[in-house]
């Protein structure tokens, strides 16, 4: 059975549709800004969505007073995709998969409603808004959540369980995550520089991204791609430190490309801009024989959007594939990596047929998926 990506949406600092986001990325606009954040009045470089913009959207949504920020952004994103595709979540053959690391984690810090911090509570609120026939499935697997959600959707459709799956992923910037990554010394005070010699760490970003995955050929459009294969693997090495050998990512890629002979036009990597992560990825790509395949990371435009990242980056990459465009790996100037890879230094046109998407995260998890033009 062939499984495809169909309509999509991105809600981010760079816009509230995929097209706005793609144009911004192509024009090298970044959603990252140095700003003060949190009760200590420190400055951080963050990719946050402006509160004014969110407020201006609120009036369009019934019962928005009861919705959390992440619920509202998720509903905005899913609504756009459902409007365009005419897919209905009240159809029994359609499922919502929600990918998130922290969900409504801001509910813990307020007295408002701590029950909202339970991830299934949040996903059910979003599902109920669209009268979902099936209870939404929630996936929380660190930074590979989004890509793994797309792979799970493909598997689930292939098994005959569903025909169409709306894959939505989101996370917000919270004092919870900012303080945590800071305690790890993982935050860069400047806009992040994935794969660059002078990379200093990550920036946190916030976004919601939604992608329809389906076996319904009537839903294929000019921005679709076929999901050829996907796989995950664990490093079994360290819960927070990337493996020096890139073993887990190497194995995820190996399982994804075995028996495939598509020529890979580019790799959209995880590329968080921490020294160890980017080294690990470069080693895994070199070991996979991809030293000459163009590589980019989109973290330089958005920061790390956690549960949204894998979906957001897949959407931008599917759009780039269909437009035969290689996108500059934002923030990159000079290579300084353990493995030999080719980082995309500027936007370029290139005839392509397929791309590889990868992700890696805490807990030693890794995932890869291969997409080709329809």
């Amino acid at each position: 059975m062939e499984v495809f990506t169909s309509y999509h949406n991105i809600v981010s600092p760079l816009g509230f549709t995929s097209e706005e986001n793609y144009d911004a990325v192509l024009n090298n606009n970044s959603g990252l800004k140095i700003q003060s954040f949190g009760k200590l009045n420190e400055s951080f470089c963050l990719g946050s969505i402006s509160a004014e913009k969110i407020n201006s959207w609120k009036k369009n949504y019934i019962g928005f007073e009861k919705l959390s920020k992440l619920e509202l952004l998720s509903i905005i994103s899913i609504q756009d995709v459902l409007n365009k595709s005419k897919v209905s979540l009240s159809d029994k053959r359609t499922l919502l998969i929600y990918s998130t690391t922290k969900g409504n984690i801001d509910a813990l810090g307020s007295n408002a409603n701590p029950a909202k911090a339970y991830l299934s509570n949040m996903a059910n609120t979003v599902g109920d808004y669209f009268n979902a026939a099936n209870t939404p499935l929630v996936l929380s697997n660190a930074c590979i959540s989004g890509l793994l959600a797309i792979i799970m959707a493909k598997r689930s459709i292939e098994s005959g369980q569903y025909d169409t799956i709306v894959v939505c992923g989101g996370d917000i910037i919270s004092e919870f995550t900012v303080s945590g990554f800071k305690s790890f010394n993982a935050l860069s005070a400047e806009p992040c520089k994935p794969f660059d010699k002078n990379r200093l760490g990550i920036n946190l970003g916030e976004a919601v991204a939604t992608l329809i995955v389906t076996n319904n050929k009537n839903l294929i459009n000019k921005d679709s791609a076929q999901i050829i294969s996907g796989a995950g693997a664990n490093d079994a090495n360290h819960i927070s430190g990337p493996s020096r050998t890139g073993d887990g990512l190497f194995h995820a890629i190996k399982k994804t490309i075995q028996n495939q002979n598509e020529e890979i036009g580019f790799i959209n990597a995880h590329g968080t801009a921490t020294p160890f992560n980017d080294d690990m990825e470069s080693v895994a790509f070199e070991r996979s024989g991809f030293s000459n395949v163009p590589v980019n990371s989109l973290k330089g435009y958005y920061g790390h959007t956690l549960g949204a990242a894998g979906i957001l980056e897949t959407i931008i990459s599917v759009m780039a594939l269909n437009r035969d465009q290689l996108i500059y790996s934002g923030g990159f100037k000079e290579k300084g990596l353990a493995g030999n890879i080719t980082v995309i230094e500027k936007n370029k046109n290139k005839k392509m047929n397929a791309f590889l998407k990868t992700a890696s995260g805490f807990g030693g998890c890794n995932a890869a998926a291969l997409f080709k033009k329809c």
């Binding site: 009760k39 200590l40 690391t101 922290k102 969900g103 984690i105 813990l108 810090g109 911090a117 339970y118 991830l119 299934s120 509570n121 996903a123 059910n124 209870t135 499935l137 929630v138 996936l139 929380s140 697997n141 660190a142 793994l148 799970m152 598997r155 689930s156 292939e158 098994s159 369980q161 004092e175 919870f176 303080s179 945590g180 990554f181 800071k182 305690s183 790890f184 010394n185 796989a231 995950g232 693997a233 664990n234 490093d235 079994a236 090495n237 360290h238 819960i239 927070s240 073993d247 887990g248 194995h251 399982k255 995260g361 805490f362 807990g363 030693g364 998890c365």
Partner: protein, 211 residues
């Protein structure tokens, strides 16, 4: 191909069961004290255990009890063994500790050793490290135990050769409430046949969870 549950373990109400038999129980005590007693009983002797959060400790004890009573690790390639876990409370038990460490401007002390456990799939990572399991992972969150999703996803992995065996189940830790239910799934081969194995399906998984 037939997929079978070869071993299962349950931990709740101050007791540990394996394959339907009660192995260990203690008098009522706080959840974190129970984990210490259960660790001693498991004879795991794994110093890293003491650095883990409660969710990971609970998951590791359940995995240890299963693997002690199983040949899964002997019979299967670690690269081809999946870990699929689920719960209701995600990592909220540890999330609250991190939140408390940043709630007060004058006592603002977030700790990386705690923050790293504020993701539910870290328990998968800890099990993967201890038993060198490098296959597929997924951590799912649902209101209550969801046998349908777990069984369907495991079967999808096994049928498509993305896994040859799996550790699956439910690991929930939330304040004073804790519950673990872990089961091991293998492909039935002549070399591992036993009358005690149970077919992998939703009804049986629900029965094992509830009994």
């Amino acid at each position: 191909m037939e997929f079978v549950i070869t071993t299962y373990c349950k931990i709740k109400n101050n007791a540990i069961w394996c394959n339907g038999q009660k192995l260990f129980s203690v008098k009522e005590m706080p959840a974190s004290d129970f984990l210490k007693e259960a660790y001693k009983f498991s004879e795991m002797n794994y110093p890293k255990f003491h650095k883990m959060d409660n969710l990971s400790k609970l998951g590791l004890i359940a995995a240890e009890i299963c693997f002690k009573n199983s040949d899964l690790l002997k019979n299967n390639d670690p690269e081809n063994t999946a870990i699929i876990l689920s719960n209701h409370s995600s990592s909220l038990d540890t999330d609250r500790i991190h939140q408390n460490s940043i709630a007060n401007k004058d006592r603002y002390l977030p700790s990386p050793a705690i923050f790293v456990y504020t993701l539910p799939n870290i328990v998968i990572g800890e099990i993967a490290i201890k038993y060198k399991i490098t296959g597929e992972n997924a951590f799912l969150v649902s209101d209550k135990f969801d046998a349908e999703t777990l069984v369907n996803y495991t079967q999808q992995l096994l049928k498509t050769n993305m896994a040859g065996a799996a550790l699956c189940g439910w690991i929930n830790y939330d304040g004073s409430d804790y519950e673990a239910f872990i089961y091991l799934v293998e492909i039935q081969k002549d070399s591992i046949k036993s009358v005690n194995f149970k077919a992998l399906n939703q009804t049986i998984v629900n029965q094992l969870y509830q009994n």
